[in-house]
Symmetry: D2
Subunit: 294 residues, 4 copies
Amino acid sequence: MKFQGITFAVVGGDLRQKKLIEFLGKEGYRVKVFGFHNIKFGEKVEVCDSMAHALGDADIIIGPIPCSQDHKTLFSKYSDQPILLQDVFKHISKDKLFMAGRITEEIQRIANHYSFRVIDLLERDELAILNAIPTAEGAIQIAMENSEITIHGSKCLVLGFGRCGSVLAHMLKGIGGHVAVEARKPSDLAYIKAYGYTPIYLREMEQKIHEYDFIFNTVPSLVLDSQIMQSIKKESLIIDLASAPGGVDFTSAEQIGIKAMLCLSLPGKVAPETAALIIRDTIFTVYSEMGVIL
Amino acid sequence: MKFQGITFAVVGGDLRQKKLIEFLGKEGYRVKVFGFHNIKFGEKVEVCDSMAHALGDADIIIGPIPCSQDHKTLFSKYSDQPILLQDVFKHISKDKLFMAGRITEEIQRIANHYSFRVIDLLERDELAILNAIPTAEGAIQIAMENSEITIHGSKCLVLGFGRCGSVLAHMLKGIGGHVAVEARKPSDLAYIKAYGYTPIYLREMEQKIHEYDFIFNTVPSLVLDSQIMQSIKKESLIIDLASAPGGVDFTSAEQIGIKAMLCLSLPGKVAPETAALIIRDTIFTVYSEMGVIL
Amino acid sequence: MKFQGITFAVVGGDLRQKKLIEFLGKEGYRVKVFGFHNIKFGEKVEVCDSMAHALGDADIIIGPIPCSQDHKTLFSKYSDQPILLQDVFKHISKDKLFMAGRITEEIQRIANHYSFRVIDLLERDELAILNAIPTAEGAIQIAMENSEITIHGSKCLVLGFGRCGSVLAHMLKGIGGHVAVEARKPSDLAYIKAYGYTPIYLREMEQKIHEYDFIFNTVPSLVLDSQIMQSIKKESLIIDLASAPGGVDFTSAEQIGIKAMLCLSLPGKVAPETAALIIRDTIFTVYSEMGVIL
Amino acid sequence: MKFQGITFAVVGGDLRQKKLIEFLGKEGYRVKVFGFHNIKFGEKVEVCDSMAHALGDADIIIGPIPCSQDHKTLFSKYSDQPILLQDVFKHISKDKLFMAGRITEEIQRIANHYSFRVIDLLERDELAILNAIPTAEGAIQIAMENSEITIHGSKCLVLGFGRCGSVLAHMLKGIGGHVAVEARKPSDLAYIKAYGYTPIYLREMEQKIHEYDFIFNTVPSLVLDSQIMQSIKKESLIIDLASAPGGVDFTSAEQIGIKAMLCLSLPGKVAPETAALIIRDTIFTVYSEMGVIL
C-alpha cells in the first residue's frame, strides 16, 4: 500500500515509534518528529525543535502506545522533558488524524476541545490480532529460556482461544508441541478440534492439568487460582499473557514451588521492529478506510 | 461425554441419521427409531412400528437435516411413505427436546401448538464449524479428482475467511499448496497473515486471480462474476462451496471454457460417518447446556 | 533453469510424454516428436514422419517410462504401430543423451551396439522422491474416495518411512490425520519422532494395528500377511503403494472383509501434468550434471 | 521400553548424566554412580565411594559425552578429583557394555586391554537425529533473542539439509518463517521441494542471499566465506551450528558489521533434560539390539 504525498508527524513513544519513523522515512514519506532528543534519524526525517513546526502541516499525527500513563502528559521515552497532552493537541489542525493507543475518556475529553479526529489504535481488531504474533513468539522464547526441556515433544496447554490463544496454539504445534486448548464457548471448542488441538473442557481442567509441561494463560480472569494450582505438577512452567488483573495466583504458585511468569507487552520487548511494522500497517489500513471521506 | 439413562428417538433423515442411530446404540443408549423401512440395526436399537411408540417416552427426539423440504412432511429418505410433521410433533411429550435442521418459520408455527422445545441444529455455530472439516476435505477430494496437477506445489486461492474458508485454507496449506486468501475485513486479513497465507485484497483480485490453479469460493454472493471471470486462466479449476445463490457465474465460466463446479452438502456425501458424529457431538453439547434447567 | 539451443526429441510414451512435449515447446525449446499419431501439438513442436528425421539432430532423446514392456518394442501408447527399440537406437547420434525409464539389461545390451549415452530416469533418486508427491496425494485421494470418514481426525498408519512413506506421512498430518509410522531402522524411528509422528515398532504392530482407520503400505515385502490381518479392524481401509510383489495379502483381506486396494503408478494417473514436470526437472538436472563434460 | 533387572552404573559426565541418573532411578532401575560429589540423588540411586563398588556388578556402564577431553582422564564435571580412564576400564567386567561419546582411537586402545564391549554413542545415527531437535530449538531461541523481528513472517535460509538442517527447516516453517534451504545433492533438493521449502541452488546463493533475515549454517565447511559475506545484508543474523572448523568467516562478518554467532553443543545447554532422555533412549535401543546376543 502506498499513499502519495502524505506528511506524517510522530510525537513521543518508545522504540517502536523510533523504528516506525525510520520505516516511513525509508519508504519515501515526509516525516516530522518531536520528542526524540539525542536520536539521529536518516536524512529524510525532519527533527523539529517545536511542536508547532512538527505538527503544523502533518496529515497524520502518530502518538505513543499508550498515549499517556497519567492522562496528562504524553508517554515519551526519548523526550528530555515532559510533554503535556494539551500542548500536543492544540497544534493538530482541523480534520487531521491523530492515532495513538489507549485513548481514555480523560484524554478524549481533552481532545474534544479541538476538531481533529482521534483513532485509538488499541481498539483496532487487526492490530490486536497482528500483535498476537510477536506476543506468541515472545511467549515461546520465554518458555524456551525457562525450561530444561524442548517444546518439541512436550505437552502444552493454552488457556483461552481468542486472538492470542489461537495464534500461540498454532505456533506451539508448528514447533512440535502436543497442544491442548481450554475454552468454554462451543464454537471455540469446535475450532480447536478443526485445527487439530486437543480440546479441554472446563470440567476436565482440574483432572488433566497435571499432565502439562507448559501452561500458557491468555484469559484475563483468575483461571489458575490457588485451588487448581494444587493440581499442577511442580516441574510445570506457567506463562501468563493476560492483561491485568492476570489469570494466575502467583503467590500460590510460589508457595507450591511452581515457576510462574507474568509476561506483558511482549511485542515491543521481543520484536520492536515487527511491532513497529504492525503499527504502520494498521495506520495505513485506518487511513485507507477513512480515505474515501477525507 | 456420557449421559446416563437418556432415551433417544430418531425419526426420518438420510444416511447420517442412519449412522447416528448405530453410534448411539453402540454407545449403550436406548434408541427408538421410526421411518427407516427395510433397514437393519444392531440389536440394541428398537425399530418401532408406530410414531407413538417411538416418541412416547423419548427424552431427545432427533429429526432430519433439513427437517423438511416442503414445510409439511418430514425429510425422510428411508421411509416408504410420507410422514407429516404434524404427526411427528403431536407425539412429542411436554418439555422434551426436538432437534433437527433448518426449522423454518412455518415449521416452528406447527411446533408451537405443542409444548416441547425445539433446537435448530443448523443454527448452532459449532455444528457449522465442525461441518467445515468434511466440507473442506470434500472440496480437496473434488479438486484432486478434477485436475491433472497435484495440490502440492499448486497455487490455491480461497475466497472468504469464515468457518469454511479458514478450515479449507489450513488443510490446503497442510497438503502443500501455496495458499492465498481473499477477504475484506481488516481483522480477517490480520488472521490470514498470522496463519501464514498470502492475503489478497479485493482491489488486487482482478490483477492477481490469473495466477491461481485452484479457486475455492466460500462467499455466498456473486464474487466471481462474468467480468472477473475474464481474468481467470483457462486451466484453473473453480470450486464453489457457497450456498445459494452461490458465488460463481457458471454460464460465463462455461462460455470461456473454465471448469467450474458447484459442490453443496459435502459432509453427508463424502463423509457420512464423520457428519453423523458431528451431529451427535452437537446434540450432546446442546443437551449438556440445557441439562442444568432440565 | 534454462538451456540455450538444445534440441529435444521425444519418442513414444504416454500422457506424461505428451504433456512434456507441450511444456518444452512452451518454454521455447525445439522439440521433435515421433510416435504420437493423430495428436496435435502447439506450432513450435515438429511432428516428424520418420525416426531418422526426429532423432537426427537431437541433443537429448527422451523415451518412455518404462522404456519397454517386452524388452523389444518401445512403450508407446499413442503410436499406431509397434516401434522396435533397435529402430530407435540406431538413429541416435554418437555422444547424444538418451533418457528413459527402467533400462533393463536386455535393453542396455541393444543400446551397447551404439555409442550414445543412456540414463535410466527411474534410477535417479530425485525423480523417485519427487514422484512421492503425486503418489502420496493420489493415495490420499483414493483414501477419501473409499471411506465414509474424513482423514482429518482419523488414525492413519504408514508402513515404511522411505521416500513415499515420509512424504505421505507429512501430507496426512497436514490434512489433520493422527499419523503413526512403522519403521525398523533406529534412524528412521528417530526421524519419525523428530517430525512428530507416533513411532510404531515392529514388535507393537500386532497389538496396535486395530486402532487405525487407514493403513498405507509402502514397504515392498509382505508386511500385512494373513496373520496380522486378523488384528486389523473390519472398517479399516488398506492402501498398498508398494511395487510388486506388494505388501498385502489381498486374499486374506477379502476373506475377512477388509477393503484393501493395490494402487500403483499413481503419478501418471492422478496428476499427469505434475508427473510430466517432474520428468522435465529430472532431465534438466541430469543434463546440467553432464553439461560439464559435454 | 522396559528391561527387567538391569543394573546401570554411571561414571562422570555433566548435567545430562546427572539427569539421566534421576530418570533411570525413577523408572525403577538399580543405578550406581561414581564421580558426582556433593550431589544428592533420589533414594533408589546408590552413590558409591569406590569405582570397584560402582562398576562391579553393573550390566551397562554409562560414561560421559565426550568420554574424555585429554584421552587420559574421564570428562567429569562433578568429580572433585581427576578420574583416569584406565581406573574406570579395569573395573568393567567381561562382556559388559560401556557406552560413552567420542571414543577416540587412543581411548579404544586403552579399552582394548580389557574384554568389555564399547559403544560410541556419538556414532549412533539415531542419537544425532534426535539431538537435532534440541539443537534446532536452541538455534531458534538464539535467533529470537538476537533479533528485533519475529521469525514468523521473516525470510530464513538454512544451509545444508542433513539431520540438523532438515529438522530446523521443519520447525522454522512451523513457527511461520518463510524457509529456503540450500543444498547440493539433487536428492536433497527434491526433498526440499517435497517438504515445501524454497530450494536454493549453490549457483544462486550469491545473488539471493541478501534477501534473508536469518541464515542458519549446518554445513561443516566454509560456506559463508569473505566473498559471499559481501552479499549478505547488515541486518541479517547468522547462526552457525556446524562443528569445527565451522562454516562462517567470523572475522569477515565482524568487519562488515553482520552479527554472526557460533552455537555449539546446544542440546546440553538449552534442554539438558531432553538431552538426557535422548541418551537414555539411545542406550536402550543399543541394548535391545545387542540383547539377542547377550
